[in-house]
């Protein structure tokens, strides 16, 4: 054993390696991404790791590996689980041979996600057991326990940290590399009565799953992952039930003088019912401090009903804890103070001066800015809809570009554009999609559009990376997580194979050409595509910078107002460029009406 200062996600990766994981597959998504990246960085021997094309593929790759007796890990963010839910729902009925852990990172807030869904609820729905860590050390230990449990019961097991556990750092004790388990998978053993799902098999296995989960509930009541801390003083007839990071907020808000009894739930599903009954004995009231869904609260209400207990259960459902959003040290402190009848600190009205807002923005020199600007200029005042999608390019919604009218979930934009087209065929429909998103879930949308005779322009923003989540490779990059350089999958060839006859590839930073191309392509009938190809500046790291000649600048501010590049500012009535940010992309040079900007180099 030795000590390392680790991020929660790094700890989970090291825990999986220590548990002898053989195969790791995932699709990037904040706050889960660093798990797979750390496995790739720290692995030894013949651990196989891949960024799959999407979460469904990752789940199925891992399932196959686990069928063959390997220990397998899937990593994704909470919405990624929606994409992978089809295989997972069925997989639970068949089970696995090697241990299989599904790491799903939930994101209360949400800080970097579309939804505030709760994987604990998904665990109940899918019947897959679920572990919920409160900190970095526990996450490291839990992933190892999850592998053991999975192998023992022959079912996938969830590990569901939340953002503050994923991205929190702590110094923890980890195993030396020579202490890591080494496992030789047995291989796939043919048995169609086990691995081929049919209704007959499902009903039999369903009954087994329910019985197993009932006995797991009992087992979990004795697990150290669920525990009760005794109360003291005048608050001893009150209790707090909590989980995950909220447990640490509760701890930081308790004082010795008035200590309620605390239940910490580390296995939300199957719920440790027997322990909950012990916890509730002699308590008048319990406050459930949870993030996302009131999972523990509902379970405790059910326990009270089943066991004829009169303890009043409070929490989100009674309005005692905020129904949505992230808990904080102070929000939990206030809820506890109210519950214990103590003085609740009143928020001071702020007398702070007005502050600028900082919505996230496209980087200086981002090629997406040029792509959006080209389409905006080309289409002018025409009736259009710009369906966006998920990635850095969602930020094209901000002023002054204002080029994203819709954004739903990965890959949706292409299909939404079709729906709009079928209702209002006189609208010029555009769908913007990033390269990683195109591979993940955009291709089927183009096939649908082409086959079903839609009329739209698909704009592929090809920056040769998955930028939003931290620059992961994808099939178009020709690099794998095993460090190989492989043949790239060509987006243009895919589009042509579907049947599109107009597929044009342009550098968006060549503004005039880009505008001319959009004008021409948008007027063609049917489904057509423009591939705007230019690398993400964070990866390309261009060295040039552009400069404004102050004597030539007429102060019209067109560059600033049209582009919203964060490197452009106004000083003494003239445009200035912050050279620490500018990438010399030349877009503003092409926009300036008097040619006052120069010095950049187009990539």
């Amino acid at each position: 054993m030795h000590t390392e200062f680790l991020m929660g996600n790094e700890a989970i990766a090291l825990g999986a390696l220590a548990a002898g994981v053989n195969v790791v597959a995932g699709y990037p998504g904040t706050p889960s991404t660093e798990v797979l990246e750390t496995v790739a960085k720290r692995k030894e021997g013949n651990v196989y790791v891949e960024w799959s094309v999407n979460e469904k593929a990752a789940m199925e790759v891992a399932a196959g590996a686990a069928y063959a007796g390997a220990r397998a890990l899937v990593t994704c963010k909470q919405v990624g689980l929606n994409v992978a839910s089809d295989p997972l729902m069925s997989l639970e009925y068949l089970g696995v041979k090697g241990g299989m852990v599904v790491l799903v990172a939930d994101d209360p807030g949400p800080i970097s996600s579309q939804t505030e869904q709760d994987t604990r609820t998904f665990a109940q729905f899918s019947k897959v057991p679920c572990l919920d860590p409160s900190g970095v050390q526990e996450a490291y230990e839990m992933v190892q326990e999850a592998f053991e449990l999975s192998e023992r019961i022959g079912s996938p097991v969830f590990l569901r940290p939340t953002t503050r556990v994923d991205h929190g750092y702590e110094a923890i004790e980890v195993a030396e590399q020579d202490e890591w388990l080494v496992r030789q998978p047995e291989g796939f053993v043919k048995d169609s009565s086990r691995w081929v799902i049919f209704p007959r098999l499902s009903v039999v296995n369903h009954a087994k799953i329910e019985a197993r989960n009932a006995s797991l509930s009992d087992e979990f009541s004795a697990s150290p992952r669920n525990f009760v801390l005794p109360g003291a003083g005048e608050c001893a007839r009150k209790g707090i039930a909590t989980h995950g990071i909220s447990y640490t907020y509760v701890s930081d808000n308790l004082d010795e003088a008035c200590l309620p009894r605390v239940l910490r739930v580390g296995t939300p599903f199957p719920f440790p019912e027997r322990l909950a009954v012990e916890f509730l004995q002699g308590l008048d009231e319990v406050l459930c401090v949870e993030e996302l869904d009131p999972v523990i609260e509902r379970a405790l209400i059910a326990v009270c009903g089943r066991h004829g207990l009169t303890t009043k259960i409070r929490g989100k459902l009674t309005g005692d804890v905020q129904p949505s959003g992230e808990n904080t040290v102070e929000s939990v402190g206030e809820a506890i103070a109210r519950f214990l009848g103590k003085e609740v600190p009143q928020p001071q009205p702020s007398d702070a001066p007005q502050l600028p807002v900082r919505p996230p923005v496209l980087c200086a020199g981002c090629p997406h800015r040029a792509s959006f600007y080209a389409v905006k200029k080309a289409m002018g005042k025409r009736k259009t809809i710009y369906c966006g999608d998920i990635g850095c390019y969602t930020l094209g919604n901000a002023q002054p570009l204002d080029m994203v009218d819709t954004c739903l979930c990965m890959g949706a934009g292409i299909n939404i554009a079709q729906g709009v087209f079928h209702v209002e065929p006189d609208t010029a429909c555009f769908a913007f999609v990033g390269d990683s998103t195109f591979f993940a879930s955009g291709i089927t949308g183009v096939v649908n559009a082409f086959y079903n005779q839609a009329n739209l322009t698909v704009v592929i923003l090809d920056n040769s990376t998955t930028a939003m989540t931290g620059h992961q490779p994808h099939p178009g990059t020709g690099r794998t997580m095993m460090g190989e350089v492989v043949q790239k999958v060509s987006i243009e060839a895919i589009l042509r194979a579907i049947g599109l006859t107009t597929v044009e590839t342009v550098n968006p930073l060549d503004h005039e050409l880009a505008v001319e191309t959009v004008r021409r392509v948008a007027d063609e009938p049917g489904v057509k595509a423009i591939i705007f190809k230019s690398p993400c500046v964070v990866l390309a790291r261009p060295q040039a910078t552009s400069k404004v000649d102050a004597s030539a600048c007429i102060g019209c501010q067109r560059c600033i107002r049209e582009l919203g590049c964060p490197a452009l500012a106004l000083r003494d009535g003239k445009a200035v460029i912050d050279e620490t940010q500018c990438s010399g992309c030349t877009l503003c040079e092409q926009v300036c009406p008097v040619g006052a900007i120069s010095g950049g180099e187009r990539l």
Partner: protein, 193 residues
Amino acid sequence: MNVNIVLCGVGGQGTVLASKLLAAAAMDRGLPVKTAETIGMAQRGGSVFSHVRIGEGVSSPLIGRGRADLIIAFEPAEAVRQLPFLKPEGTVVVATRPIVPASALTGGPAYELDAIMTYLEDKVEHLVLVDADAAARDLGSSKCLNVVLLGAAVRSGVLSLTTEDVAKAIKRLVPERFQDLNARALAYAECEP
């Protein structure tokens, strides 16, 4: 006993490395450390923060409002944004160079630097101003602002860490080619009165 530090700035300014250096320096001293970072969308030019908690008796990696001993702000408006985290008698080390977001020039709320600086001077008992422009000029780079600020923070005396502790952490965590610059950046804070 524990010390709670909020680092704040704008995505891309180097707050994450600064919090890692603090954590490493504290660990070398044998102190327990927990930190929390902003990772994700906000890193694209949004407001970012790190919380660093050093010492015993710490459960959550996040600091509650009104409980931070020290705020290290890479930018004045962000110092004001995080000020509710500061204890009444707390210390703020702030780089005085504003980063004006494009939104302030394209119709969003303006950046009122004078009001912001006056507010900080009024509200903060122990305010340490760091002239980031002068530091960049003298050191020949604006990339080491994080270490300049760490130097000033150590000198403020709130941290129970020495510049040697931070220097050791820099040696371990910063790539070779930036070692010299960062060593000068740390010392820069020391020779400024």
